[in-house]
């Protein structure tokens, strides 16, 4: 029993100490970090670095880019994936299986496999340095996992409900919006959270397609701070906290949904 408690405590400290150091360091000057790397900041709560990073960087712009890319990517992935999932459940079984296999094959191909040809395609289509380009790629590459999760769920919905609505004269679109979507809300919200975290944190596609500061998202901007600030940890960690803040706040309030949603994504992906 004692050993168990001790292990739980050690693991908790392994998570907490680095995070605490990040918060404390973001409130220190660089000089103070060198003289006292792990202690409390001398001036207590000090937001100078936060002010400085907004002055030195187009932080608000990066933040907005991340918000735009994430919101549109999640919305369109969910919309198109749920349409496909609905379509699969309504098709004859062999046609449905073909579509299901076609889309879920995509889960087997890691993003790094297609990055080379995708890059030249984006150049040809003039979609580099464009938020629209990022959104299109995001939606296309996360469709497979979303289709997989949503189809699994929609297949469990009772067929009678759809049949009843056909008798009432509902077309496919009405059946989709009035029956399938409302009943799939639990699965949709879990998938949404999974996609939110994935798109918000994505580094690879911005790294490949964005060179103009005006279109950079937070993870890419953050990565480039490393070149600029080198080992100026106070500034790097200020960036880390700003970039992570929305997810952390959401996690505190929606913890259970995060754990369920992201685990579903992992297990099924």
């Amino acid at each position: 029993m004692l050993f168990r408690r001790f292990s739980l405590l050690v693991y908790a400290l392994l998570i907490l100490i680095p995070l605490l150091v990040v918060v404390l360091t973001s409130m220190k000057t660089l000089r103070e970090t060198f003289s006292n790397p792990l202690g409390l900041p001398a001036d207590g709560i000090n937001i100078d670095n936060y002010v400085a990073i907004f002055q030195e960087q187009t932080m608000a712009g990066y933040f907005m880019n991340s918000v735009i890319v994430t919101l549109f990517s999640v919305t369109f992935t969910l919309l198109f994936a749920s349409m496909i999932a609905f379509g699969i459940t309504r098709l004859s079984s062999w046609l449905g299986n073909i579509m299901f296999t076609l889309f879920t094959l995509g889960m087997m191909v890691p993003a790094q496999v297609i990055m080379v040809p995708l890059y030249s395609l984006m150049l040809d289509l003039n979609l580099t340095n464009s938020l629209v380009g990022l959104i299109l790629v995001n939606v296309s590459t996360t469709l497979p996992i979303a289709v997989f999760i949503l189809t699994g769920f929609m297949k469990t919905l009772p067929k009678e409900l759809f049949e009843a609505s056909t008798i009432d004269g509902a077309g496919n679109w009405q059946m989709f919006t009035k029956v399938a979507i409302p009943l799939s809300l639990p699965s949709l919200s879990a998938t949404a959270i999974f996609l939110f975290v994935m798109h918000w944190n994505d580094l690879l596609y911005p790294l490949l397609f964005i060179t103009d500061n005006a279109y950079k998202t937070l993870p890419l901007a953050l990565l480039e701070f490393q070149g600029q600030y080198s080992t100026n940890y106070p500034m790097l960690f200020t960036g880390v906290i700003i970039a992570s803040a929305p997810m952390v706040v959401a996690y505190v309030f929606l913890q259970r949904f995060f754990v369920a949603g992201m685990t579903a994504g992992a297990v099924k992906g």
Binding site: R4, S7, L8, T33, V147, T166, L203, L218, P219, F237
Partner: protein, 291 residues
């Protein structure tokens, strides 16, 4: 019941995007893998299997990369699975404390790889870092060193970071698996006087096999895809000792402009992932338990 033809319209938007931005690049990766294309000029030549031959016989860095990826994978799979399972067994019940602790351990999963890379760059920092200071504090200063700069251990330092990053998520998968085991099985084992170890061996482990397969397969694939973390922490250095397949593809394509060769490595990468996925699928089939 007849479904109206309009159902096909539901596939259109997704299928169009998926074809342009996913299927087409996947097929072109195959196509370019047989060329010497540099990524920019209009002209390129077909060179048959030369790129693949180069990868397996002529390219010592690629061989090193595979080795690095295997080391990384092995450490991550072993540690992540053991940590996740051990803590899942302690935290199996749903109480206020266990739910809180699970949420805490899960927390790093929601961070971006770049954030985790920066946090751990500070943990490992040779002069300021948490790890070296801690070691000195407890009188083990002689172990302290440059964790990411030492070519012999950098890849393992990265692997430990990856475990910190994702073990909490795998813990949740194990908790779900453990909670699905019927309590009666444990009661029977208890009545029959089984020891703790015997109970684990003959009840928990076999019934947990599906979750274990998921964890091992997911962790394996994840460790091949750890591009962001490696890219942000070491960029493949020092001396290519932390280069993994994914970062190597990026280097060949975007630093050396050998798109044809990078495509060939991508195809090899795709085949490796396909094999792992296939094995996972087979294992899950055969491990299906009923109770």
């Amino acid at each position: 019941m007849k479904t109206s033809k309009t159902i096909f319209l539901f596939f259109v938007p997704g299928l169009v995007l998926y074809s342009i931005f996913f299927l087409y690049p996947t097929v072109s990766a195959l196509f370019y893998s047989f060329t010497d294309w540099d990524g920019f000029s209009d002209a390129f030549a077909f060179i048959g299997f030369d790129n693949f031959e180069r990868a397996f016989t002529g390219d010592s860095i690629f061989r090193k990369t595979i080795g690095n990826n295997l080391k990384f994978m092995l450490v991550v799979v072993v540690f992540q699975t053991i940590v996740a399972l051990a803590f899942a067994m302690i935290l199996i019940k749903n109480t206020k404390t266990t739910v809180f602790l699970r949420a805490l351990y899960f927390f790093p999963t929601i961070l971006s790889s770049v954030s985790v890379a920066f946090i751990w760059a500070f943990v490992y920092d040779p002069s300021l870092g948490i790890l070296n200071q801690l070691l000195e504090g407890i009188g083990l200063g002689f172990i302290a060193q440059n964790w990411l700069g030492n070519a012999n251990i950098a890849i393992y330092s990265l692997a430990i970071t990856q475990v910190w990053f994702h073990a909490g998520q795998m813990l949740i998968v194990f908790v779900a698996g453990l909670q699905a085991i019927p309590q009666e099985m444990y009661e029977v084992a208890k009545i029959e006087g089984a020891s703790k170890w015997q109970t684990f061996r003959s009840v928990t482990w076999p019934l947990l096999a599906p979750s274990a397969t998921i964890v091992v397969a997911y962790t394996t694939i994840q460790s091949f895809k750890a591009f962001d973390l490696v890219f942000a922490m070491t960029g493949g250095g020092p001396n290519n000792t932390t280069e993994i397949i994914a970062t190597y593809i990026y280097d060949i394509a975007f630093r050396n402009y050998q798109f044809g060769y990078a495509s060939a490595i991508s195809v090899i990468f795709m085949i490796i992932i396909a094999i792992i996925t296939f094995l996972q699928f087979k294992a899950l089939r055969s491990d299906r338990v009923s109770y």
